[in-house]
């Protein structure tokens, strides 16, 4: 019996899609792969810009009085505001749900493209114009926005932050917010309607599951943010006084609206990266994801809880019901813990190969373990009272976000790079990148926990020299430069793979999911044929028909699923 679903239509289509090449192709394409790469390039540029800003911030803090750079307070405030804004709005989110998801989700569901290709292109152009708008703030007369990435009112009102920089910041968030919403609509539709035959919901790869849940969270959270920004803009220009006491407004409303976006946002930034890790660990352990269904439910539980925890950012405002938000925040540790133990269970008794993507996943596990434990502490209001707005919090969320967006994000980058380009990255350079990054990460952020516990507030340009905070700050700055150096190895690696390509083949890692069935890079409409989908690992089943998942309900010898036999001469481009 043959198990390959032939897609004749693709062949006919392919003839008509020779289209423009070069720059024109990048600008006019509605191909999800081209748009995905556009997203990745743009978000990586934002990542490196924001990283350079972080280095400037760290240099400033090597001494209490301004360090070697001697930035003014205004310059420092602009830098930490834009560092946070670029990293969170323009890198961590778009890199995952704009870049990786755009490229990978249609492949993983066996679709020829996203459901709405032109809407997809619109998303990218909105994102790019939003990104440029935000960075242009530096060129405005009063400088870029300087009120932190959260833009708390009333500090962000025209009275306290006049000028065009803050307006550009608000506009940029509105633009990228719409971009995210459109991408979310596209992803949800694609996942619900364009799955290949046999790909039931409980056979979806966990990355696609993560993106589906993320997209739903985006649809819940981003409209709130956009609305909050529209109100802030009208406060600044039309004297609506929504967030100002003087006109009868309520300043704390801004915080509620912002964090009603902001906390789901934390999981919008985390779930896709959990999904990446859930793809890579099984492949490099040569095992199915342990507790796959539990993983899906854990993802949904995290998303559901994340809409009810926003006020844990507001414990010290004295305006929120502490026990409610504390309990829900603490409970998020439970599904997150389930994920952790499932990842460990996947590695357990596996055959783990420590190629670079897997190394980055292990780095993620340690980083997120530490960030998660301190997160549980901060979910307890009395401990938050003692550490709120100090470097303890800074260390916590950097460990969480660097753990996810950087460790897991670059795990995904190394993992799918052969699929994106058809070329391998070099292992040696990748290992240098990982180890320097790993060491730099701990050296940068562990001292910040101690600084926070001693009472060093965040967002300060100067500190009192007599308090002995300087040494820990210098250690942290050294760590930041080690991280920066590690990324030189990434850039060299990409350059080497470009100049001296090593062909990757279609399935260099013995992957499990459908993207490894397409050619590298995939052809215009992705697949000429598809294997039958009988589990969440169709490509593994195709290549290892005798090693299917063992059912848990027998004595351990039974095969859970029927072996898949393959028609002759139909190995679908597999080498």
């Amino acid at each position: 019996m043959t198990v390959l679903a032939e897609r004749h239509a693709v062949h006919e289509h392919a003839e008509h899609h020779e289209g423009p090449t070069g720059l024109l192709k990048w600008m006019t394409s509605t191909d999800h792969k081209v748009i995905g790469m556009n997203y990745m390039y743009t978000s990586l540029v934002m990542f490196f810009l924001a990283g350079l800003m972080a280095l400037a911030i760290r240099l400033q803090l090597t001494s209490g009085t301004g360090g070697v750079l001697g930035l003014s307070n205004q310059q420092f405030d602009e830098l930490f505001t834009m560092h946070g804004s670029l990293m969170l709005y323009l890198f961590a989110g778009p890199f995952a749900f704009g870049g990786l998801a755009n490229f990978i989700v249609p492949l993983q569901v066996g679709a020829p493209d996203m459901a709405f290709p032109r809407l997809n292109a619109l998303s990218y152009w909105l994102y790019l114009s939003g990104s440029i708008t935000m960075v242009l703030g530096f060129l405005s007369a009063g400088g870029a926005a300087a009120f932190g990435w959260v833009g708390y009112a009333p500090l962000s009102e025209a009275t306290f932050s006049p000028g065009a920089g803050p307006d550009l910041w608000i506009l940029a968030i509105a633009l990228t917010g719409f971009s995210a919403i459109f991408t979310a609509v596209n992803l949800v539709t694609t996942i619900f309607y364009l799955r290949s035959p046999g790909l039931t919901m409980f056979r979806l790869p966990l990355f696609t599951w993560a993106m589906l849940v993320t997209a739903i969270l985006i649809l819940i959270a981003f409209p709130i943010l956009t609305a909050a920004m529209v109100m802030l803009f009208s406060d600044r220009h039309f004297q609506t006084h929504i967030y100002t006491v003087v006109g009868g407004g309520v300043p704390v409303l801004y915080q509620n609206l912002f964090w009603f976006f902001g906390h789901p946002e934390v999981y919008i930034l985390a779930l896709p990266y959990f999904g990446i890790v859930s793809e890579i660990i099984p492949v490099f352990s040569r095992k199915p994801m342990f507790g796959y269904k539990g993983m899906v439910f854990a993802t949904m539980a995290i998303a559901a809880l994340s809409t009810g925890v926003w006020a844990h950012h507001m414990f010290t405002t004295g305006t929120v019901l502490l026990p409610f938000f504390s309990l829900l925040s603490l409970l998020i540790a439970v599904p997150t813990g389930i994920k952790f133990f499932n990842w460990i269970g996947t590695m357990w008794r596996g055959q783990i190969s420590f190629k670079v993507p897997m190394l980055f996943c292990v780095g993620f596990l340690f980083a997120f373990l530490m960030g998660g434990l301190t997160g549980v502490m901060l979910a307890s209001p009395p401990i938050d009272f003692a550490t709120h707005d100090t470097y303890f919090v800074v260390a916590h969320f950097h460990q969480v976000l660097v753990g996810t967006a950087v460790f897991a994000g670059f795990a995904g980058f190394y993992y799918w790079y052969p699929k994106f380009t058809g070329r391998m990255l070099r292992e040696g350079l990748g290992q240098w990148h990982f180890w320097l990054m790993f060491v730099g990460f701990w050296v940068t952020f562990m001292p910040q926990y101690k600084l926070g516990l001693e009472g060093m507030p965040r967002r300060v340009a100067t500190y009192v020299p007599g308090l002995d905070w300087q040494n820990l700050n210098i250690v942290s700055t050294v760590g930041a430069f080690v991280i920066a150096i590690s990324f030189v190895f990434l850039l060299v690696n990409v350059w080497v793979s470009w100049r001296k390509p090593v062909p990757a083949g279609d399935n260099p890692w013995d992957g499990h999911t459908l993207e490894w069935f397409a050619s590298s890079p995939p052809s215009h409409h992705n697949f000429e044929r598809l294997p039958s989908v009988r589990s969440e690992r169709p490509v593994w089943d195709f290549h290892h028909p005798d090693d299917l998942v063992i059912t848990h309900s027998t004595n351990g010898n039974g095969k859970h699923r029927h072996p898949v036999t393959v028609g002759s001469g139909s190995d679908g481009g597999h080498e």
Binding site: G345, K450, G556
Partner: protein, 307 residues
């Protein structure tokens, strides 16, 4: 449900750890309840009664975090060392173990509920306000300074950034050490309950005294009240923690806890000084201490211009 036979060794090992974790939590519990001999874990033991409650929660939580972190970390390290690839064999393809999955769902829920119980008890103690505090102080934060008004006493202290208009210290001496005495001083009696009414005149500020293990936002349109019972006389440095604009980094204050008799004496002196002359000129600032040399080049007038 039975585990796959060869998978059971690993599964059973996994299953053992949550029990050890529960055991460790039981060992940690007396420490949590026992109080003062807990390790500090780089935090402050706390100089107020409220801070001491927070400290016990902090220390207990930290112990629990170490237990969970060590177990999980060990499992990760064990997996990556023990199961690194040694051959091209395909390992057994087991995927589910219902009992184990339930265990690592239920046990974290129990741990979280225990932590939540201690959290609620502690936050109620920290946020508790006494019916009759010994002293009430209206604290008003502004860009970039603090105003402390002693309700019904006719005394008000106001200072911007590094400047302390009233550098009172312990036992009649000037405030010292200099690095702890930046900004205006909030003078309170040690050992008595002090009620703080916290407001802001403009943006959001953070009232934060590290050694009190406590912070609270000062917000426009919101009146926050809380009690501080400073246990021993001393100088406690403090500063704004919620970013509030250009001179946020220099928005210092400090708490001066005096023995009650010295506090009464200080209050009387201030009252007579206030009645003698309007102290409004204090805003323009007597240079506080030598410590202002670090960043004190910013004069009050330029600061106002910047605002």
């Amino acid at each position: 449900m039975n585990a796959p036979t060869t998978g059971s060794t690993g599964a059973a090992a996994l299953k053992r750890y949550p029990r050890r974790l529960a055991l460790a939590a039981a060992v940690a519990l007396p420490f949590v309840l026992g109080g003062c001999q807990l390790p500090t874990f780089w935090g402050y033991r706390g100089s107020t009664a409220q801070a001491h409650d927070e400290f016990r929660l902090w220390s207990g939580t930290f112990i629990a975090a170490i237990v969970v972190g060590v177990i999980t970390g060990f499992l990760i390290i064990w997996s990556i060392v023990r199961y690194r690839r040694r051959s091209d064999d395909v390992p057994r393809q087991f995927q589910y173990h219902f009992g184990l999955e339930v265990a690592y769902t239920v046990i974290p829920v129990i741990i979280v509920l225990i932590l939540f119980g201690f959290t609620v008890v502690t936050e109620n103690a920290v946020d508790d306000v006494a019916p009759h505090p010994a002293v009430s102080v209206d604290v008003n934060a502004f860009q970039w300074g603090w105003q402390f008004t002693y309700a019904g006493k006719g005394v008000s202290i106001e200072g911007e950034t590094l400047n302390d208009p009233d550098p009172v210290g312990l036992n009649g001496a000037a405030c010292a050490p200099a690095d702890h005495c930046l900004g205006p001083g909030l003078v309170v009696p040690a050992g008595k309950t002090v009620r703080i009414y916290l407001r802001s005149k403009d943006t959001i500020h953070g009232f934060y005294v590290p050694q009190f293990n406590f912070s609270r936002y000062a917000q426009p349109g919101v009146l926050n009240k809380f009690d501080l019972t400073v246990q021993h006389s001393g100088i406690y440095r403090a500063q704004c923690t919620q970013f509030c604009g250009l001179y946020h980094s220099e928005m210092f204050f400090h708490v001066v806890a005096l023995p009650p008799s010295q506090f009464q004496a200080w209050l009387s002196t201030e009252q007579s000084a206030t009645t003698a002359a309007a102290r409004s000129s204090s805003v323009s600032g007597q240079a506080a201490t030598g410590a202002t040399a670090a960043t004190g080049h910013i004069s009050t007038s330029t600061r106002k211009a910047a605002a």
